[in-house]
Amino acid sequence: MTLRKKTLLKVIILGDSGVGKTSLMQQFVNNKFLHQYKATIGADFLTKEITVDNKVVTLQIWDTAGQERFQSLGVAFYRGADCCVLCYDVTNEKSLNNLTSWKDEFLVQSNVANPQDFPFIIIGNKIDIEESRKIPSLSKKLNNITNQGFGGLNYPVFETSAKDSINVEAAFEVIAKMALQQEELNEVNGGDVSDDYNDAINIHLEGNGSGCAC
């Protein structure tokens, strides 16, 4: 496929308050980690140009607020998304358990036509924190969630540290690939980058799960 125009990929980052969504995005986009970001209100927007499969794409990343009260805002930000990143904090079990509801909420509000095949990716952040504070038997719990909450779908999983810049780049590379696939799919289906998702076409993303650190 020849590059006719700038490819814009829209990525949404979701997850509980305080799991490190802003830090992940800042680490990826600006290669920096600050100890104190203010709580995100509504959603923040950042962009980064990267090369995926020899193609230059621009990631438009929406870093959303984690508090539940802001969820009704989703419609304004989720529409037209090409990939959704679900974040949790490896030291906070509740944030892990909430992944399912974040995913469901996203599918409801973004109104994507192919919910079964929409590309999600899971990121467990804060692996730099001492082992003792981490969720006990994390991988088992994570498996339970993907099996039950996510209907057995295998979404790529990354464990990252935004603070120490571990796995962040790798995760976003996969995010970009998945988003690009989704975008090209829309292109084929809808003829242009509209929000018009027509028939669902099965794509399988299992091959991308190489970054799983579990």
Binding site: S17, G18, K38, A39, I41, F45, T91, N92, K94, R133
Partner: protein
């Protein structure tokens, strides 16, 4: 109409905008004549053969609008209808504001006083009291005045000097002579020719104007009567409150402190007591616990309570991360208590992210006020100055407080500011009083915007919609550009509403904005704020129109306000005021 509006904007930005900050806060007379003259603007411009882009037209329109207002406008602007002026002409031309000459008159001897304010002369004991206060020295009120009271010495003794109108010292060039013409004895000098005596008198008046000050005006309103005149206070405060009097004035404007001064002490005592009892009632939360995760086990509340506390806890840690004051554990503890109590007392909304930002102006202004009280008190002990205790918020000082006594002896006390002060130095007693005041003032503020934080945040959605409608009236090209680029207002304006622009403008300027918000009736945090947001957005209009989707969002996420001063904010507030005046009673019109 569109043409007229454009002219107005031009006129407005070309000329001295200060009229809006005049004595009447740009309201009342100023506004009505302003609006009245808007129609003149339209007609005069349309008669002119050339189009409205000709600068002369602006000047003409300018004179139509400002003609009866702006005495001190530069002569070069032309078209200034000097003939209309009555007594104002005596003082108009030479009244150039020279900031360095301005000085403070804390104790205004009777001859200084404006004859129009009869209430200030009628209390017999007041003049002697004032004279005694003129000994007190006041420093650092405003960057452009000199606090040396030696300069007060020039007092015109001749009785005829009382006949001259006292001008607004802040904006002497803007005061309407008619404002003082209600008093009959002012009429005599008007329209008389300028002889030497007049010239002398003019110089005297000039000096008097400079001697008068914002501070002493506030002082008068706050201390003269047993009951504070809220109208007068609002008029003054709309244009900005002197930092030292901000805490007291805010508490009165919010209705937390009663205007009846005899009731203030007891009200504060009761309210503070109520707050302490409220905190005790949520005893199942350990406010000392600031462990980062909700897995911490010390709190024994329900899951819901734990979750609430967790949210507040993590947000307090990241409140104003760049301001040192908020990094102290003592301050964070206070904020946790305030926010938690507010949330459990308001279950319909509960705590919503952003409310943490909203309580900080109160907290730091009230803490700063306590510091000021200490500094005043220390300076009497040293120099025998008057402490001005009638301007103190009651109940903060306590002679038995050892931390307070230590601070009073601290040689560096005079240098402490809110940015350098270590809150560890004050007692937990004082901290909890400041907490209580902050809690109640925050509650008062949020009462005005409850819809912003309940489920689905309908208040914010309405405000964002109103903002868009407003922009469609003010700057349709910008709106069209946004539409073309696929920008939705909710994408950037949500935060503007949720945090009242606290993420976009530095906290020092936010406190200045709140002076005005608190002087609006109803309080400006709801509707007036939308007009402020419109003024804020339109400020960047020309830049935004050349940007694409990404650039616009990135720009609005981090708007270049770092170098802003109070002047920028005041300009924005005055623009907001004009738009509110034009559109607030025309919502049908606004909504197409």
């Amino acid at each position: 109409m569109g043409k007229k509006k454009q002219e107005m904007a031009q006129v407005y930005s070309n000329s001295n905008n200060e009229f809006i900050f005049g004595e009447n806060g740009g309201r009342g007379k100023h506004l009505s004549s302003f609006l009245k003259n808007l129609s003149l603007t339209g007609s005069s411009a349309s008669k002119s053969p050339s189009s409205s882009t000709k600068p002369d037209d602006y000047q003409e329109a300018n004179s139509n609008i400002y003609g009866s207002l702006a005495w001190g406008a530069p002569k070069g602007t032309g078209g200034m209808p000097r003939g209309v002026s009555n007594s104002g002409s005596i003082i108009s031309s030479s009244l150039k504001r020279t900031p360095t000459q301005r000085s403070v008159s804390l104790g205004t001897p009777s001859a200084h006083r404006s004859p129009t304010r009869e209430e200030y002369t009628k209390t017999p004991g007041s003049s002697s009291r004032r004279r005694s206060q003129s000994n007190s020295r006041y420093a650092d009120l405003d960057d452009d005045w000199d606090a040396g009271l030696d300069e007060v010495s020039v007092v015109p003794k001749q009785p005829e000097n009382r006949n001259f109108p006292m001008l607004d010292s802040l904006y002497p060039d803007l005061t309407l002579p008619s404002a003082s013409s209600s008093t009959s004895n002012l009429e005599s000098p008007k329209k008389e020719s300028m002889d030497f005596e007049d010239y002398q008198a003019k110089l005297e008046i000039n000096k008097l104007n400079q001697l008068n000050s914002k501070y002493s005006k506030f002082r008068k309103v706050l201390t003269t009567d047993s009951s504070i005149n809220l109208q007068d206070l609002r008029k003054l405060a709309w244009n900005g409150i002197p930092p030292e009097l901000r805490a007291l004035t805010w508490q009165i404007l919010l209705g937390y402190l009663p205007t009846n001064k005899s009731r203030q002490r007891s009200t504060l005592k009761r309210k503070r007591q109520e707050y302490m009892e409220g905190i005790e009632a949520v005893a199942n939360i350990d406010f000392e616990d600031d462990a980062p995760s909700n897995t911490s086990s010390t709190s024994i509340g329900t899951n819901r309570e734990k979750q609430l506390y967790h949210q507040i806890n993590i947000d307090v840690k990241r409140t104003h991360p760049t301001i040192k004051l908020y990094s102290f554990p003592e301050v964070q503890l206070s904020l946790r208590k305030i926010l938690y109590l507010w949330a459990v007392r308001h279950p319909a909304s509960g705590y919503v992210q952003g409310i943490n930002d909203l309580c900080t102006p109160f907290f730091q202004i009230f803490l700063g006020h306590y510091l000021w009280q200490l500094q005043r008190k220390a300076s009497i002990q040293k120099q025998g100055n008057e402490a001005e205790e009638d301007l103190f918020i009651q109940g903060l000082m306590d002679d038995t407080d050892t931390a307070e006594q230590a601070l009073l002896q601290d040689p560096r006390l005079g240098d402490y500011t809110i940015d350098t002060f270590n809150p560890k130095l004050i007692s937990s007693r004082v901290l909890s009083l400041i907490e209580a005041d902050t809690y109640w003032c925050l509650s008062r503020l949020l009462e005005n915007i409850t819809d912003n934080y309940i489920h689905e945040q309908p208040g914010i959605l309405r405000q964002v919609g109103d903002l868009k409608n407003l922009i469609s009236r003010i700057d349709i090209e910008l709106l069209n550009h946004f539409d073309h680029e696929g920008i939705e207002f909710i994408q950037f304006a949500f935060r503007w509403m949720n945090c009242l622009l606290m993420r976009e403008v530095s906290i020092n300027l936010i406190t200045r904005m709140w002076d005005t918000y608190l002087s609006e009736t109803p309080l400006g945090f709801n509707n007036f704020h939308v007009y402020v947001c419109a003024a804020f957005l339109v400020k960047f209009s020309s830049e935004l129109k050349h940007m694409d989707f990404q650039e616009i969002l990135l720009f609005l996420q981090n708007p270049p306000t770092q170098s802003w001063t109070e002047k920028d904010v005041e300009l924005m507030l005055s623009e907001a005021f004009i738009w509110q005046s034009l559109y607030k009673n025309a919502s049908a019109h606004l909504r197409n």
